[in-house]
């Protein structure tokens, strides 16, 4: 019943006008992890797998139906034991764009305030049939403890001063995007300055780990109390002269001063009001004089250099309004890219763990 429907006769060869095809396709190595706890433990190729997967997801947000069915029927639970707006919303939206169901737990108004341990809370949530836990905690290592206590996937959404892997990935993605390296995620030759409260920053630690593995150079800048020389053991250099470094970098990542991590007691005493004082420097004005990215300092940057900030910004302290909203700023691009990166992390960890 089946036969060739066209007669084939030998003909002289013709030249074929070739359509352009992309030379680089999907990720090169298979993802094998159930959890994403940090960038320090990943290889350069694993980082590229995550980032290239994110590049495949970036386009979903532009569709009429902003959803793909990849995690249909899966459940993602947000366990945020520390405040967050952007990261939690971003993970929620990322999970929803993969067609997963999302449940939310915040520490206030839950059994956490009755003294239940973090791992017990996680185990109980997992027992309800959850496929991934997105965990934020004020203690470094808490998501790792949770991961050891459950069988489902765990994504670290920021733990203490340890790591914030998806923020590190979205910063790397944004840097690669600005420099036309979305095909390879090879950052060789690029130099990134991380400025400010480096010592308190999980964002800095994830950035340093990821950027250096992909070939970039990282310099941390701040007063000795916030950017101590000992940070150099992480594979970066440390400097205290912002104006000298700015003309040499392709990107500057302005960190928020994390007043709440400098003096936990003072923050509590301050009640509802956010405390803007720190034992790490004499006054915020003095800090700003040395390390804020002002409009004049931003002019020292190379043409094409980008300005990043993980948010939330202390406008007027570490970054000036006109810089944050200026043409070199990619701060909102970071937020957009964060969605694709989180989709990739959820997709790879959840669908990759089914084989195990």
């Amino acid at each position: 019943m089946f036969r060739t429907s066209y007669t084939l006769a030998p003909m002289t060869t013709m030249s074929v006008a070739s359509p352009t095809a992309e030379s680089v396709d999907g990720p090169s190595v298979q993802w094998k992890h159930r959890c994403l706890l940090g960038l320090q433990e990943l290889s350069a190729e694993e980082l590229r797998t995550l980032l290239k997967t994110a590049a495949g997801f970036a386009e979903v947000s532009g569709r009429s139906v902003k959803k793909v069915p990849a995690l249909r029927g899966k459940v993602v639970a947000n366990l945020f034991f520390e405040d967050s707006t952007r990261t939690r919303l971003s993970f929620t939206l990322a999970a929803q764009r993969l067609s997963a169901d999302v449940i939310d737990l915040t520490s206030s108004g839950s059994s956490v305030s009755k003294g239940e341990s973090t791992v017990d809370t996680a185990r109980n949530v997992e027992a309800m049939g959850v496929d991934a836990l997105v965990v934020r905690h004020k203690s470094s290592g808490a998501p790792g403890l949770v991961a050891a206590g459950v069988k489902c996937s765990v994504i670290n959404a920021g733990d203490g001063k340890h790591e914030h892997p998806t923020q590190g990935l979205l910063d790397i993605y944004t840097l690669a995007e600005a420099n036309g390296r979305l095909e390879t995620f090879d950052l060789t030759g690029l130099r990134v300055a991380i400025v400010g409260d480096v010592v308190s920053s999980r964002v800095a630690r994830s950035n340093i780990a990821g950027l250096t593995k992909l070939g970039a150079k990282v310099v941390c800048i701040g007063p000795g109390t916030l950017a101590p020389k000992s940070m150099e053991t992480l594979g970066c250099t440390v400097d205290d002269d912002l104006e000298a470094v700015l003309p040499t970098v392709d990107a500057v990542n302005m960190l928020r001063i994390q007043f709440e991590r400098h003096s936990e007691g003072a923050a509590k005493a301050g009640g509802g009001e956010a405390v803007r004082a720190s034992p790490a420097f004499p006054s915020t004005r003095e800090y700003s004089r040395g390390y804020a990215l002002t409009a004049e300092r931003a002019r020292l940057l190379k043409p094409g250099a980008i300005i990043m900030h993980p948010g939330p910004m202390n406008r007027g302290i570490e970054i000036a309004d006109e810089v944050a909203d200026g043409p070199k700023s990619v701060i909102l691009r970071q937020v957009t890219n964060g969605l694709a990166v989180r989709m990739a992390a959820l997709y790879l960890c959840v669908s990759g763990s089914e084989a195990r």
Partner: protein, 171 residues
């Protein structure tokens, strides 16, 4: 290895397929091609070129596969790129070989997430009989029925180094 179509015969098949598509088109101004990666996108580009159509997209169906949760380790996600609005267009979905119909189903679901085309057709270079889903092509250049233990191998430039269709023993 059984040679089914060499370089020039592949070109003839594409010519015939393009002519068949043109004949069945209601409004040539609305015509656009979308190919299933990888090789369906090459078929789409070659057909579009023959018909003078500039709107060509390619889709990666990984996330729409119905066996995604059975494939083991996370399947690799490639890029979907449809650089035009599909709404109201006459879309021709292209693939190199139609067999079970499952990739076509996944591709249809994905295209519909981009908008509502006025018409969707399926064009394939090679049609095989082993359907698992009721999907049939409007246009096919070649019908082949390889024996058990055989597979159809389509090579298309520039994805491959040559244009060729063969039937090979399955490894």
């Amino acid at each position: 290895m059984k040679l089914i179509a060499d370089e020039s015969q592949v070109e003839k098949l594409l010519d015939a397929l393009a002519a068949d598509i043109r004949k069945g088109t209601n409004d040539p101004g609305k015509l656009a091609f979308i190919g299933i990666r990888r090789r369906g996108d090459v078929v789409a580009a070659k057909l579009a070129e023959r018909l003078g159509v500039t709107d060509v997209g390619s889709i990666d169906i990984t996330l729409y596969r119905d066996d995604l949760s059975e494939t083991g380790a996370a399947a690799r996600v490639g890029k979907t790129s449809i650089p035009f609005d599909v709404a109201g267009r006459e879309i021709v979905l292209c693939d190199d070989v139609l067999m079970t119909g499952r990739s076509v189903m996944a591709a249809l679901r994905e295209i519909l997430d981009f908008g509502r085309p006025s018409r969707l057709r399926l064009a394939v270079l090679v049609e095989r009989p082993e359907r698992e889903i009721p999907i049939q092509p409007e246009h096919s250049a070649l019908k082949l029925e390889p024996g058990p233990g055989e597979k159809v191998d389509v090579r298309l430039m520039p994805q491959d180094e040559m244009n060729r269709i063969t039937i090979n023993p399955r490894e």
